[in-house]
Symmetry: C2
Amino acid sequence: MDTPLTDQPDDTAPDAEEELRAGMEHLFFAYRDFIARPDRILTEYGFGRAHHRVIFFVGRYPGMAVRQLLDILQITKQSLSRVLRQLIREGYVEQRQGETDRRQRRLYLTRQGIELERRLSEDQRRRFARAYGAAGPDAVHGFRTVLDLMISGPPKGGGGG
Amino acid sequence: MDTPLTDQPDDTAPDAEEELRAGMEHLFFAYRDFIARPDRILTEYGFGRAHHRVIFFVGRYPGMAVRQLLDILQITKQSLSRVLRQLIREGYVEQRQGETDRRQRRLYLTRQGIELERRLSEDQRRRFARAYGAAGPDAVHGFRTVLDLMISGPPKGGGGG
DNA sequence: GCATATATGTCAATAACACTGACATATATT
DNA sequence: AATATATGTCAGTGTTATTGACATATATGC
């Protein structure tokens, strides 16, 4: 301990500083453990985390356009393209031309895709259910409140990121 | 909407199911926005997210052994090695031989490393501080409770992953 | 209709970050 | 002395991301 991190920042007391860092650390751990199991399942299919994200969001919002998915995932279309191509080729996702805007390729999970989604999210749902159940409704409400406040707004006026 | 995700799982009501998935989605968004700014700063240095993780944990736990860092990050030593070598070579992290166990190379941030850590975590601390402040102490307590319940225990008896 | 913008897709090259496997050294433990 | 642990390195590979360039189909503004 020669140069500990207690130089005192501009406006934060050391205790608050510690509380913030503890929160950051635990968010890291929670996310790390949240994705560990799906990551392992995905290797069976030759898929990666990116495939899971697509499966998750298309499952949650069927008929989603590619553009929306890009905005959510915040990756380039080239990155998404390869992943999406694989998922379509192997029968987990299908595309249908948009009805009002025929440039769009709206995305849907196939039966097979729905099955994979269930399998991937099983551990995650159980993990959430256990934590929610053990913590109780008030804690869950607090959890969601803080989580939502931490999310940047849409990048219209420069969200906060 | 031909095959919506309402097949009914084993033991969960559809509303609870929705609540869980909403939580999962928002955890994804929160984490995505949490790392966006540091990621951009890191490119200036030719570093990546892995460097940030090392900087963060070494800053938080000075004198940490390499083995501990590996357990926390849950990556292979080969992966850590490259990152750590860079950080040491460029003067952000230094190693000192352990006193009780001289096999260990204990890790410390240099002055330069501490500066970088501050810069990287600035947005993250502000983000947490804002969310904590706006949500209030009860919500923060609930947030931490749920987050902690979601983290797998140490992999002694098969933690939960 | 023409110009332009949007939605989507693809090719090529590159980088970050993870992996496995193999091997080496120093030190600790039994 | 044998074995285990802590650390490090070399080589090869795969996934996910990037940038840049270019192409097609469709929508929108004038």
